[in-house]
Every structure is written in C-alpha cells, then in structure tokens.
C-alpha cells in the first residue's frame, strides 16, 4: 500500500470516528455523511450497527487479555506501581476510596460519600460498612488510614509520596476518615483515585501491601509476575450489581508488539493494549478486530533545562517552539493518534483546557527570535530514546530537519534504554520524555512545574505560576479556577522550557467478542485501568 493511501485511510478514519463520537450525529446524518465520503450505505450502516450492538453490556464469560507494560519484577505493592499491567490487576481485585467514572466524574467506591470544610482543608470520607476483604477480614477505618499512611511520612517508599505530601493529618471519627490538608484543595477526592492508592488490609496500623486480599469484584486466583494473572468473580462483593461483567479473566503479559498483535488476530486473546501504531492501518482491516481509542492527557514532552545555555534564553526557546512541526509529528510519529499540543502540560481532557491557545508553525518569526537570542548557527544536543515514548527517535530526526531550516543544528544522541530515567532525564539539558495523564490539573502542575517541584525537569521558576497553582488548588469557584489554570497554560506555553507537540491517544484493540461501553474513561489507558470490570464478553 502506498504511503498516501495509508494516510488517506487514517484521515478518513479519524473523520469517521469524530462523526461517531459526536452525540449530535444521528443515524441519518451519519449515513448521509458516509455516502458523501464515497462509502456505500451498507458499509456505513455496518459501522454504525457494530457500535450499537456492542453497547449492550452482558454478564458472564471468560475474557483473555494480552497487556504489555509488565515485568517479571512486578509486585503487588501498589506504592511501586508505574505500569499498566499491575494498575489494571490491582483495580480489579482491590478498590479505592473514589473512582474516576467513565464520564470522568468522581464516583464513590469504598467511600460512600464525602464532604469538605468551606476552605477545602478538611475532608470527611464516610467509609462503606459491611465490606469484607477476600480473606474474610472486615474493612475498618483503620485499614483506610493505614492505606493512606503507606504513601506518607519519611519512611514511605511509595511512588505517590509527592501526591500525598499535601496531607497533614489523617484520623478516624466513627465510620468516617478525616483527612486534613496543609492547604485547601478543591480536588482532594481526586487524590484518592490515584492508581497507587488502593485499600489494603492492615495489621497494627501497617498496610499489608503484598497481600492478595482486596475488596474488589474479583478474587486474585493466580498471580505470576510478568507472566499471567487469573481473576475470578468474588461472590461476596459489596458492589450491588457485582461490580464487574465478565465472570473470570486471564491477563497475559505480552511485551512483544508483534506477538500481542498475532495473539489478537489468531483469537488467542480477546483484547490487547497498545497495538503498534505503525501497522494499525492494516490491523484495522483484519476481520473481527476493532480499534478502541480515547483521547488522553498523556503529553509528549521535550524538556529543556532552563538553567543551561542556550535554553536559558526565552527567545531561543520560542524559536524552537515556532519551528516545531506539530501536525507532521502527529501524522508521522503518532500515525494520526494524537491531538495538537501547545507546549504546556494540560491536555484537552481537562475542563480548563484552552483550545484557543495555539503555537503556530512560523519559520520567519522563529528566525526573528533566534536572531534576537544571539544563538544563530548554534549546535544543540538532543538526548533521545524510544524508552521515553515509542517513536522518539523518529521525532528527534523530524525536529532536527525543521530546526535546521532556521539555522539550529541538532546533534541527536541515542541514549540507552537502561537507566534512561536516572542518567538522562532530568540530567541532560534537552531530552525526549513523556508525562502520563493525571486526573486533575493540580497533580501535574505541582509535580513538575512549580519552582519547588520534585521533578521540575525544565527548572522552571516562575513566581506567577507558583502563586496561581497554589491559589487554584484552594479555589472552590469553578469559573475562577478555570481562569487561573488557563493563565498558567498561557504562561508555560509562552515562557516554559518544554516543547509539547502533541497529546497522546490511548489505543487498544479488541476482537468482536468484547463489548466496550459508549464512553471510555480517561486518566490512564484501558478505561482508566478499570477495563477488566467495565468491558464485557459479548
């Protein structure tokens, strides 16, 4: 197939998908639309009916999935989670206090309800009663407190320590767990949707992180890290409707892209995550295979350390930003699966996202800024590795060509996968990187864009951003918060040290044997990590 043909297919597909996901489109509009695109009525009709058929959830059956992002060193310790496989497993056999629903709203889970003090500093979570862990132990408020404290304090080894650092005190009041924050935070419930935060049984105030006993709708029957996991329905669940659709699951770790894809095509598995985008135009044409994609706030970032020359010069940074080909990045590196980015980390999935903020591609302006910076003809090093995101090496070459047009020479250094996050990222002056989606704006901003942030990979020190982020955190008036976050977006886009050409799309592929709801939750791939409970065997 010629390249132009593939591009055409991708383009057509994206338009179709937009039409399908637009709630305003009726069946009649849709058929008229596909007719206009030169597709026959039956083709269009088939697309539509597949969608409608799949939308009737069904209980029962056994689902087999193949996920990558697993490791033989994986552990049940949720404080150490950083990959999709364990996140999905843990979300199936454990529960959180709060869940992100498929419509991205906050849904009660083990917390039946919650209320905040007017200054959003004190939050009271009412814990569900009569819930039992899989080992028969009853859920108590002590378990909840221990599960929170696992991520706090000096001895904590949790990856989410930063997320929970704003909590100053946790205490029990009857059936309620009271959480006190150092500063007000209107989004506090969202902290408890974090995938590191699962409720575990506790003993003497310490959470048993390695215990296979959770409260979730599935029992962990077999767990072999980096190989496979077997889940079976928990007959004694607190969920009124069972909390899950399929009766049992087998989740295989399949790291190899081709192996995952052939397992899906041959029917050995019902669903896979992250099909290789390079071959997706062909995979889509395989009979019985469907592509499931959902826009994500995952950002492809290229942090420049703003304390290193020439990146300390704002004109120089602007020149690079203006000469970065964004649409081409999406077409060639992401194969169409992405949304244009504007050099700030808050993606289109956030309510506060300012769609009018664009960074144009303008070589004349870029040259003007480069001249002003005094760095014409400079050579910069870009450390890149496909570990940072798939296609990062291709992206580096693409940027190299475009930056050369304004007179910036780029020396691409291919860094080893091993130790990338220790020896390259946050160390080298300019590198390729990604930031996974976070459920609320504050999480990503406080972790990487405040002058005090632990992982400030661009060394940004902007008083106004610092002030706005803290103020927005405690602001309960939604309109005011939105305005604050938009101002932050504008400042970082203009002055910040990162180039974000695009936001990602989470892509999965299923066979016809799997049903997926109309809406797919964000926050993380695979329906926010909840797909084992939410998708069904048709």
């Amino acid at each position: 197939m010629k390249k132009s043909k593939i591009e055409q297919i991708i383009h057509q597909d994206i338009i179709l998908k937009q039409a399908l996901s637009d709630p305003r489109v009726t069946r009649r509009d849709f058929l008229a639309f596909t007719g206009a695109m030169g597709m026959t009525a039956t083709m269009g009709g088939a697309l539509w009916s597949n969608r409608a058929l799949a939308a009737t959830p069904k209980r029962g059956g056994h689902m087999v999935s193949g996920l990558n992002d697993a490791n033989t060193g994986d552990s049940l310790d949720c404080g150490l989670f950083n990959a999709t496989y364990m996140i999905c497993i843990s979300r199936a056999f454990r529960d959180s206090l709060v869940n992100v629903g498929q419509d991205n709203s906050m849904e009660p889970a083990l917390a039946e309800s919650w209320e905040a003090s007017p200054d959003a500093k004190v939050w009271r979570f009412n814990i569900r009663q009569g819930v039992e862990f899989h080992n028969g132990k009853s859920l108590t408020t002590d378990d909840v407190v221990a599960s929170i404290n696992k991520h706090r304090g000096e001895d904590s080894t949790s990856y989410a320590k930063g997320v929970f650092s704003g909590i100053s005190d946790v205490r029990v009041d009857g059936n309620t767990v009271v959480v006190e924050l150092a500063d007000g935070n209107a989004d506090a419930p969202a902290l408890f949707t974090d995938y590191h935060f699962n409720i575990m049984p506790s003993k003497d105030g310490v959470a048993e992180s390695l215990s296979s006993a959770g409260t979730g709708p599935y029992l962990l029957k077999e767990y072999n890290p980096g190989v496979k996991t077997v889940l079976e329905r928990n007959p004694n669940t607190w969920h009124p409707d069972g909390g899950a659709l399929a009766d049992s699951h087998e989740v295989l770790a399949i790291l190899d892209d081709t192996a995952r894809q052939s397992a899906l095509i041959s029917g050995s598995v019902d669903v896979i995550n992250r099909p290789a985008l390079k071959g997706i135009a062909r995979l889509k044409n395989v009979k019985g295979v469907n592509i499931v994609d959902v826009a994500s706030n995952l950002a492809f970032t290229h942090p420049m350390r703003m304390d290193v020359t020439p990146f300390d010069n704002m004109d120089f940074r602007t020149a690079l930003k203006l000469s970065t080909p964004r649409q081409e990045f999406i077409d060639k590196v992401l194969f169409g699966y992405g949304a244009i980015g504007n050099d700030q980390p808050l993606g289109p999935g956030f309510g506060s996202y300012d769609a009018d903020l664009n960074v144009e591609y303008d070589l004349d302006k870029a040259k003007h800024h480069l001249k002003k910076s005094g760095h014409e003809g400079v050579t910069i090093d870009l450390s890149a590795s496909n570990t940072s995101y798939g296609g990062a090496m291709d992206a580096a070459q693409l940027f190299q060509q475009h930056w050369a047009k304004i007179g910036v020479n780029t020396n691409i250094i291919q860094e080893p996968q091993d130790g990338y996050w220790n020896n390259v990222w946050n160390v080298k002056p300019f590198c390729t990187c990604y930031w996974g989606a976070r459920p609320v704006e504050d999480m990503i901003l406080s972790i990487a864009y405040l002058s005090s942030s632990p992982w400030n990979d661009t060394v940004i020190k902007n008083d106004r951003v610092d002030e706005l982020v803290v103020a927005a955190r405690g602001e309960l008036d939604a309109a005011k918060r939105k305005a604050m976050y938009q101002e932050v977006q504008h400042i970082i886009s203009k002055e910040g040290g990162t180039i974000i050409p695009a936001f990602g799309t989470d892509v999965a592929a299923t066979r016809d044997t799997v049903g997926v709801g109309d809406q797919i939750g964000g926050g993380w791939e695979m329906d926010g990590g909840h797909y084992l409970k939410r998708w069904w065997k048709a």
Binding site: T72, G73, N82, P225, A259, V269
Partner: protein, 318 residues
Amino acid sequence: MNRILLMILQRFGLGLLTLFVVSIIIFVGVEFLPGDIAEALLGQGASPENVAALRHELGLDRPAHIRYIDWWAGVLQGDLGTSLANRRDIAELITFRLSNTLFLALTAAAISVPLAILFGILAALYRNSAYDRSVNVITLGAVSAPEFLTAYVLILYFSVKLGWFPSLSNIDQDTSFIDKLHQVALPAITLMGVILAYMMRMVRASIINLLASAYIEMAHLKGMPKFRVIVKHALPNAWAPIANIIAISLAYLVVGVVVVEVVFIYPGLGQLMVDSVSNRDIPVVQACSMIFAGTYILLNLTADIVSICTNPRLLHPK
C-alpha cells in the same frame, strides 16, 4: 575405570570453583552497572528520599562485600533468598521457569539431535549429491535467518492462517503433557532451525574426515555396505566431536533462547534474567547465572566423559 571416576571428581571440583568465580564476576558486574534496584524500580519517579527509603528497606545501604557474603551464607543453607523487586521467594520463582526452560530445551533437542545425526550420516553417505547440497542449503538458510523472523513466519502460517498451533505458549503448573507439547511446538521448531545446521554439519564433517582413514578403506574392501561402514565403523570414532557440539547446542537451548521466549511469550528463565538485570535485582541475577553457568559446566563435563569413554586413548594423556 577408576581413572574416569577420578577425572569426573576433578572436573566437578573445577566446576564448583568456576561457579564461585562466576558468582563474583556477576556480582561485581551488576554492582558496576549505573543505578541500583531502588532507582530502577522507582523509574521516572525516583526522588532522593524515596530511593534512600527503599534502599534501606531492601538492605542495600550495607557494603557490597557484606551483601555478597550474606548471599553465600544463604545459598550454602539452600536459601536463594527473595527477589528484591517483588519480595517473592527466588526458589519458587525459578522452579516454575526452570522447568519450562528445560521442557522446551529437551523437546527441541529430542527433535533436533536424532534428525541432525540422521541427516549428517546421510549427507556423508551421499556426499556432494543433490541431497547433500539441498539439506545443507536448507539448514544453513534456517540458521542464518534470525530466530524472531523464523518465529514470526511460523506464527503467521501455522497459527494465524492455519490455526494449528497457538501463537502463545500459555503454560502453567496444571497444563497436561500433551497440551504442553502442542503449546511448545512452534518454539521448538524455531529452535530446531537454529541448532540443526551446526550439529548436522559437524556429524557430516567428522564422518567424512574418518572416511579417509585406512581402516574404513579396509571395511570397504571387505565388501561391507556403505551405510554399515558408516554406522559401525565411522560413527563410533566420531562421537567425541559430535558429543561436544550437542552439548554446546543444548547449553544454548537452556541459556540463549530469550528471543524465542519473548516472541512466543514462553515463561522461561531468559526473560526473568533480562528483567532482573535491568531491575538490578542482584539475588535473582545471581541465581539465574548460577543455573546457566552450572548448565554449561555439566554439559561440557558430560561431553568430555562421552569423548573419553568412546576414545580410551584420551585417558592417557602424554
């Protein structure tokens, strides 16, 4: 006979010494790699306090030689320790994977070794014939193609198109023997492609080498049929090099099949070793490398014993 026993004991002792040296090299090697398990596990999210806390929890803040001695103390008591990455018992982690690795290796060997010997003998017998040429071209072609290519082609035809064999080796403790054979068919055939050519050509070469000897000529002159000459007279003297190449191929089957494991999602030791190295999970790396080194040592020892038993002259070195 006593000499053989003595030699075996001697070799065994040397093997143990080699294992000891390997353990030091591996330990020092992993220590020299940049970063440690605390940093590797925490990845992009590693903050100095997290790393320090995790190091303390795992006992990594102790000096390296103390950790090494501790490890030996455990091993001598039969305790391989627990994985630093997921705190699981290493013996338990390894038993399942080792048995899978051995099962795959033995299946592949059970197909390849007899075939290699048979093809090799026939190739020597019909030297420079169309058969000889084609079997050489085919097996050399198979060994030249990278394993993953062979594997993908097999998957494409036998599992995606024909559906005869699964593309995934979904094996666990409860899988029955017949089922297991069905599951490892494609990986075993892939491995056969890799090792068949070496063994076959070694059998062919050693036999052809011998066919020039005077005693073979004598056998021909006696009027013995060609095939009998080869099997009765040439082969027994060719066992030494053949045993060596078989031992090396078997060792490869145990140690070097990580690519095949990855493509077929076969839960063997290779993937565990690779993941453990990148995680800097020293106890698991040590345990795996001891097994791998032990495999090499044992197989080489076996090959030497076979050589000596089939050629008693070797017992009396000058």
